[in-house]
Symmetry: C2
Subunit: 334 residues, 2 copies
DNA sequence: TTGAAAGCGTTACCAC
DNA sequence: GTGGTAACGCTTTCAA
C-alpha cells in the first residue's frame, strides 16, 4: 500500500486544481457537469476515499452527534437509537454512541470522552447526571437533549415522559381491579435512577390511594432482567403469596417473575397480578400477556431528530420540553 | 462563547511554547514536573479542551475502531459489543458503531461512511458482503476482522463459529431423541445470510441422517423475532402438528413459536419439540426452558480485542482464524 | 467556471 | 528540557 490518495492526487490526474476536485465531489453547482463527471471517474479509478477527519478539522464541524444509552441491549433504547440513526443519517450526521451500563459515573467518563470528538450535539438518556457531567456539558456551547425523562432541572432540551406518571397509571389500574397489597420488584437502591424514580412513583401513587406500604423486592444491581426477576421470586417461594400484585420495573423482569410465580404453582392473575414496563415484545408474546406501559421509544427518537434539525437550522431559541406521554396497556396478568 | 482556547493560548499564558504544552498535557516524561503542573493548572483555568479532531488529523490516527452489527437490539451482539467497548476502551480506542439491519447493501453504505473516518481497524459481523464492500475494504491497508462466522474466503482475520456445525448439533440431538419430521422457522430467503446459512446447515444435517425433507416456515423478512414466530404458528394452526420438531433460527423466534403452539393446545415437548439458537436469556427463563445453542458472544468480543491488540503491537503477521465453537444446551422443549 | 493562498490545532522532527 | 518549523487534507475566501 502506498501513501494515501488525496484530492491533490486526483487533481493532478485530472489536470485541475484540488479546489475543483473538492467542489466536484461535493455537488457544488458552480462546477461544470463534464468536469464533475471526469473528476468522479478519476477519483473512483484511483480509489480515492474522502477524509472526514480533515474535513472535520478544517470546518470545525465533526459531523457527529454523541449519544449515551444506558444499555445497547434493550429493545426500547434500540428503537430510539434506530430512529436517531435514520433521521440524522439523512442529514449527513453520524452517531457516536456510548453505553453507560446504567451508571452515572460511567456516563461522566463517557461524556468526557465523547466531547473531545467535538460532537455537534449531545443526546443523553435520562435526567440524572453527576455534578461533573453537568459542568462539563454546560461549559460548552453545545445543544444538549435529555431524553426518556422529564427532569426538573434540565441541562437543555428535553424529550421524554414522566416515569412517575407512568407508574401512577399502573397503580390506578391495579387499584381499580381490586388490588391492595403491592410489591415493587426492581434493582437495588442507588444504582439505576430510572428504577428509583419508578419505585418512587409507585410509592407515591399507592399513598394517594391509601394502600398499605408498598413492599420492595430487590432483584439485585442494575441492570435487572428476566433472570433476576425469576431468581428473586424463586428465592422467596410461597412468601410471594402475601401480595396481590407485583409491580415490576420492566417487562423482562415481569416476565421472569411471571414464570417463577407459575412454577411455584400460583395462578396469574387470579392469585397475583403482575405488571411490567416498556411494552417490550415479550410482554405481548408471553402467555399470559403482560400488563405494561407503552413508552413510544421510536417517537422519542423521531422527536429528538426533529428538535435537532430545528436547532441546527437556528429555528429554536428556547429550550424545548416535549412530553411524549405514556399509555397503559392492559394484558392478561392483571 | 469566545473563540476556542487552543494550546497556543495556554502556551502564551504560561510563557512557553505550544510544543511544551502539548508535551505537558500528554504525560511526556521529558517535561519538567513543575512545568507540567503549571501548564495543567493554566489549561484548567482557561477552560482548555483538548481537540481530538486535530490530533486525529495530524497523527493520522483516529482512535476509532469501526464496527458493524446487524442489529443493536440483540442480546448476543450487545454482549460482544460490550466486550469490545471495554477491552478497546482500555487501549484508548473508541468504537464507531453502525447497524446494518441485516442487509449487505446497508453494510456497504455503512462501511463506506465509516472508512471516511479513518478507523484503525474494521470489525464486521458476519462473513457475507457485497463485492463492492470487499473492494472498499481490501483497497485499504487496514486490519479487518470478520466475527460471528467462519467464512470460506475471509477478508482478513476471523473470530467466530460455524453456523452449520451449530445447527448440526441441534439436528443430531433431535434425531437422538427420536424426532424425524423437522420444520425450520426463519426469515424469508435472501434477506439475512446468517439465517440462510443456519437453514442450509439444518437441511444438510437432516440429509446426513436420512430424515425426510425439512419443511421451511417463512416468518417474514429479517430480522424475525418473538412476534413473527408467534404469528406464523398462529396462522398455521393445527397444521403444525404434522411436524415433530420446530428448528427455529433464534431463541426469540422459538419463544414466539412455543407460546403459539401452547395456545393452540399442543404440548411441548410431547407433541412437538422446539429448538432455538443463541442462548438468549428468554431460553433459560421461559417455561419450559428452550433447547438452544450457546455461541459465547462475550468470548467473541474478547478474542477480537486480543487479536486487535496483537495487530496493533505488530505481533501478528498472518491472518488469524479463531473458532470459538458452540455448544448445545438441552432445555425442556426437546 | 476555475484557481491560489491561507489556515484550522496538533505533533514529528530536528535544533539548541 | 524546551522551542521553531513544517505539515497532515481539506475548505474558506478572494481573485481571475
Amino acid at each position: 500500500m502506498g501513501a494515501r490518495v488525496t484530492m491533490r492526487d486526483v487533481a493532478q490526474a485530472v489536470g485541475m486544481s484540488p479546489m475543483t476536485v473538492s467542489r466536484a465531489l461535493r455537488d457544488d453547482r458552480t462546477v461544470n457537469d463534464k468536469t464533475r463527471a471526469r473528476v468522479r471517474q478519476v477519483a473512483d479509478d484511483l480509489g480515492y476515499v474522502y477524509d472526514s477527519t480533515a474535513q472535520a478539522f478544517r470546518t470545525q464541524k465533526s459531523g457527529f452527534v454523541a449519544v449515551t444509552l444506558p444499555s445497547v441491549n434493550n429493545a426500547n433504547f434500540a428503537e430510539t437509537f434506530r430512529a436517531l440513526t435514520n433521521g440524522l443519517g439523512e442529514a449527513g450526521l453520524q452517531l457516536l454512541l456510548g453505553s453507560t451500563n446504567y451508571r452515572v459515573e460511567r456516563e461522566e467518563e463517557l461524556v468526557r470522552q465523547l466531547l473531545t470528538r467535538n460532537p455537534e450535539a449531545l443526546v443523553l438518556t435520562g435526567g440524572h447526571h453527576t455534578e461533573e457531567t453537568r459542568k462539563l456539558v454546560q461549559a460548552r456551547d453545545l445543544p444538549v437533549i435529555e431524553m426518556w425523562d422529564l427532569p426538573e432541572d434540565p441541562l437543555g432540551h428535553v424529550v421524554g415522559f414522566s416515569n412517575s406518571d407512568a407508574m401512577a397509571h399502573i397503580v390506578e389500574h391495579l387499584v381499580a381491579t381490586g388490588r391492595r397489597k403491592l410489591a415493587f420488584v426492581g434493582a437495588s437502591e442507588g444504582a439505576d435512577m430510572r428504577g428509583a424514580v419508578r419505585r418512587a412513583g409507585v410509592v407515591a401513587a399507592a399513598q394517594a390511594h391509601d394502600l398499605p406500604e408498598v413492599a420492595m423486592i430487590d432483584a439485585g444491581p442494575a441492570p435487572v432482567s428476566m433472570r433476576h426477576g425469576a431468581a428473586v421470586i424463586e428465592a422467596m417461594g410461597k412468601d410471594i403469596a402475601q401480595y396481590d400484585a407485583l409491580v415490576c420495573v420492566s417487562d423482562p423482569v415481569a416476565f421472569g417473575c411471571l414464570n417463577s410465580v407459575q412454577r411455584i404453582g400460583l395462578r396469574v392473575p387470579e392469585d397475583l397480578a403482575i405488571t411490567g414496563f416498556g411494552h417490550f415484545e415479550v410482554a405481548k408474546v408471553s402467555n399470559p400477556r403482560i400488563t405494561t406501559v407503552n413508552v413510544q421509544a421510536e417517537d422519542i427518537g423521531r422527536q429528538v431528530v426533529e428538535l435537532l434539525q430545528g436547532i441546527f437550522d437556528d429555528e429554536i431559541d428556547t429550550p424545548a420540553r416535549i412530553d411524549v406521554g405514556s399509555a397503559l396497556v392492559v394484558g392478561e396478568t392483571s
